[in-house]
Symmetry: C2
Subunit: 166 residues, 2 copies
DNA sequence: CCTTGACTGTTATGCTATAACATAATTACG
DNA sequence: CGTAATTATGTTATAGCATAACAGTCAAGG
């Protein structure tokens, strides 16, 4: 049995994506069940859609896909499924993009840092504990108590640094 | 003449706000002039509006205020003024809130960390260099080249930590 | 059963943001 | 100056993101 976490640089490298998605989905099942919540068909399908690619998808993109699969075609259908996934820690909302991505290693409490490639649009999540510590420290000096952080970086992924650096 | 910067914890404390706003506005004039850009009436007024309070304002709030002052009443009026201010570093967009705040210490190149009080809605900007270093370091391990960061924290400001901590 | 609560679906609406184009003001320069 | 180029303002229209409110459905437990 395989219980170890994806290594801390899961992001922009070629990998067995079908396997990576399947594994994450399996983890999701376990996590949700363990909490007494239900990974219903819409929710599961929404997660599958997010897992198809390491990109961020807008709610309406997800909605279109869900509608095509026979689910409802109204915005709340997508937003509810996505909100559920976010609540369960199975997906993240990317504030800068008003979009959503699957969490590549759900279950562990974490403070994600999201890396967004401005060239190819791919999105990766890395451990943000270092950055989070910096935020906490600076906030503490102002007497502020941090509860949640949004840490996102825009830049160039490894593949896109060759050539189109402008 | 006073050219020194606001100290690095400008945020949630009582202060001479009229003076703080006036001073920031004066700095803005200098900065903009130094770049050959123009702080036109709408732009100046938009900045004044943002400076009135240490809060984040939505574009449409700013728009209403501008319209009341005789400027145009259509969204692009506000968005253009706000985009200008953001470009010049005189204001920041807060991704989490889809809103804007005046930069309390414009002119210096900085990586702001934005602190958002979920209780009173006040917003403060603190130096984010520590957090930024954490982001850069973690990103470098993934081979990602960071260009811009969005670092925002939601929590409780000093004043709101007494009592309503729930 | 049948009640309760959770889930899905709908209609309707509101908020956020930008494209595209017309007019006016400012600046640069011959 | 005066006129061309540029920049800024304003408008209409539309696109994109998100949620409130309500109706019907389904599953689990008493």
């Amino acid at each position: 049995m395989k219980t170890d976490r994806t290594p801390p640089e899961p992001a922009f490298h070629a990998h067995d994506h079908a396997g990576c998605a399947a594994e994450t989905l399996a983890q999701a099942e376990v996590i949700v069940a363990g909490r007494g919540a239900r990974l219903t068909p819409v929710r599961r399908r929404a997660l599958e859609i997010l897992l198809e690619d390491h990109r961020a998808l807008g709610a309406y993109e997800v909605l279109d896909r869900l509608a095509a699969d026979g689910f409802g075609r109204q915005p709340p259908v997508a937003y509810r499924a996505l909100d559920f996934l976010v609540d369960q820690g199975l997906a993240h909302r990317i504030a800068r993009l008003n979009a959503f991505m699957a969490c590549p290693h759900p279950g562990s409490d974490h403070t994600p840092t999201v890396l967004i490639c401005r060239a190819c649009g791919s999105v990766a999540e890395i451990a943000g504990e270092g950055a989070r510590a910096g935020v906490d420290q600076a906030a503490a000096r102002a007497g502020f108590k941090v509860e949640r952080t949004t840490i996102e970086a825009l830049g160039l992924c490894p593949a896109c640094q060759t050539g189109d650096a402008a």
